[in-house]
């Protein structure tokens, strides 16, 4: 666990981080956290004491699994009911609220800064075609189906951070429309159903060789 940013982190997050860092906190860990979060030093010391005693009481770091996968206790049943209700309310609230651009504003589209010429240059560099690259740009490919290896390759070719590229591919489609080279149509682009990576490769008019190479990216 590497703790680098002390700022803007809540006490809760600091306690989580301490709990994850070591099975039993030691002097070095406590000193490190007190240095990183001087504002919370006292609270973290108290927590470390509880953590140390708890670790001695319950040393196991192994999963506790129920003996019977089908039996559901009253407690779990009640919690599931709460969960279903909350999930329903969340869906209702979402449906009633227009999509908030602000919610996705922090996810940057690495293609947005490219003008038409740069976009075409990237098409050549990646040895794909505009249709396929547009799908990556417009987030019309189901991100879980994109091989991590291809995401890394794309990030490397565009000189981007791999995590930032993955965050872009995972972001909702509505935040894409900021790019300079994107849309000619006057109408507002609507979110479309996402294709799988394989489908996107096979339906973009790529050559056999290009398709074979893209589909060879596997995790």
């Amino acid at each position: 666990m590497i703790m680098t940013a002390a700022t803007q982190t809540s006490l809760r997050d600091a306690m989580y981080a301490m709990s994850l860092a070591k099975a039993v906190p030691d002097a070095e860990l406590l000193d490190e956290f007190a240095r990183l979060y001087p504002k919370y030093a006292d609270a973290l010391t108290e927590f470390a004491i509880e953590l140390a005693i708890d670790s001695l009481m319950h040393r196991s770091d192994e999963e506790d699994v129920p003996a019977d996968a089908d039996a559901i206790s009253d407690v779990v049943s009640r919690v599931m009911s709460q969960f279903e209700n909350q999930l329903f309310e969340r869906r209702q609230a979402r449906a009633a609220t227009p999509p908030a651009r602000a919610a996705t504003a922090s996810v940057e589209n690495p293609f947005a800064a490219l003008d038409r010429q740069e976009f075409r240059a990237l098409v050549s560099q990646l040895d794909v075609n505009s249709a396929f690259l547009s799908k990556l740009r417009d987030r019309t490919i189901e991100p879980i189906s994109i091989p991590k290896a291809y995401c890394r390759h794309l990030a490397q070719e565009m000189d981007e951070d791999a995590d930032a590229m993955a965050a872009h591919l995972y972001a909702p489609q509505e935040s894409v429309a900021a790019g300079r080279q994107l849309y000619k149509a006057e109408g507002k682009p609507a979110a479309t159903a996402r294709q799988s990576f394989e489908e996107a490769v096979k339906t973009s008019g790529l050559s056999e060789e290009q398709q074979r190479r893209l589909l060879s990216f596997r995790d």
């Binding site: 192994e62 129920p66 996968a69 559901i72 206790s73 599931m80 709460q82 995590d163």
Partner: protein, 249 residues
């Protein structure tokens, strides 16, 4: 490809990342079967960290059917852990505390991504049991404090010049903290730890900071904002109480 974590200070263990990537390519029926596998040695077993990721992903994509299948399995594992760590014998109303913890855990998923809950579940995707440990300690601490079950034992008034009476026992605690208990220690030290947990807060702080966490006497005094002599006194008083308890075992 697994969705990146929002908390940039965290990273999933590579083994978990690999298992998530594989699970993300599997269909609903396969995931449903794998989620019900209870043998951790089985290749089909999905670690809780994977279940957390799959649940978050399903809820974000509006795949509530998957969420409904995975959530009970995750809750049942958490419940099994809580039945061991917050047993009925530990405190009054332990079942209600376990319920509150499970409820908080489940609600994290419905609040995931909202203000104040942007990345809380990232911790659970990295080390589920240790993240759950924080939630458990936090709830138990609050419950004990609310129900005033932490009754301070009377301070020993004449122990100022007493030597540390049972260094051997506390050395065992310290060793147990770092390498795990020996067979002999495992027999009676859990009782010692419970007694340690019930010491008056000042003594408990001194013993844990000095003997378990491993601070020097000077550092312990500084953290407790007292002088070294007071720390020596508190340790001696704690030793005396723990020794009495050991003799009763």
């Amino acid at each position: 490809m697994a969705r990146p974590l929002l908390n940039k200070n965290l990273a999933r263990p590579p083994g978990i990342e690999r298992k998530i990537d594989i699970a993300l390519t599997q269909d609903w029926a396969t995931l449903s079967r794998r989620a019900r596998e209870t043998n951790p040695q089985s290749g089909d077993f999905l670690p809780s960290e994977c279940l957390v990721h799959l649940l978050r992903d399903a809820i974000r994509r509006g795949e509530d059917r998957i969420a409904r299948v995975l959530m009970p399995q995750l809750l049942k594992r958490a419940e099994a852990n809580l039945e061991r760590t917050v047993p009925d014998s530990r405190m009054r109303d332990a079942e209600s505390v376990r319920h509150e913890i499970l409820s908080d855990l489940a609600m994290m998923f419905t609040q995931d991504g909202t203000e104040g809950h942007e990345d809380e579940l990232d911790f659970y995707e990295c080390k589920f049991l240790r993240a759950l440990r924080f939630l458990r300690i936090d709830h138990v601490r609050k419950a004990l404090s609310e129900r005033k079950e932490l009754t301070d034992l009377p301070e020993s008034g004449d122990g100022q010049d007493e030597p540390a009476l049972d260094d051997e026992m506390l050395a065992r605690l310290s060793r147990m903290a770092s390498i795990g208990p020996s067979q002999e220690d495992a027999l009676y030290l859990p009782e010692v730890i419970k007694a340690l947990d019930k010491l008056p807060p000042d003594q408990k702080r001194a013993v844990v900071l000095r003997r378990i966490i491993g601070h020097t006497e000077e550092q312990t005094a500084k953290i407790c904002k007292v002088d070294k002599r007071t720390i020596r006194y508190r340790l001696a008083a704690a030793d005396k109480q723990l020794k009495t308890m050991k003799e009763d075992l």
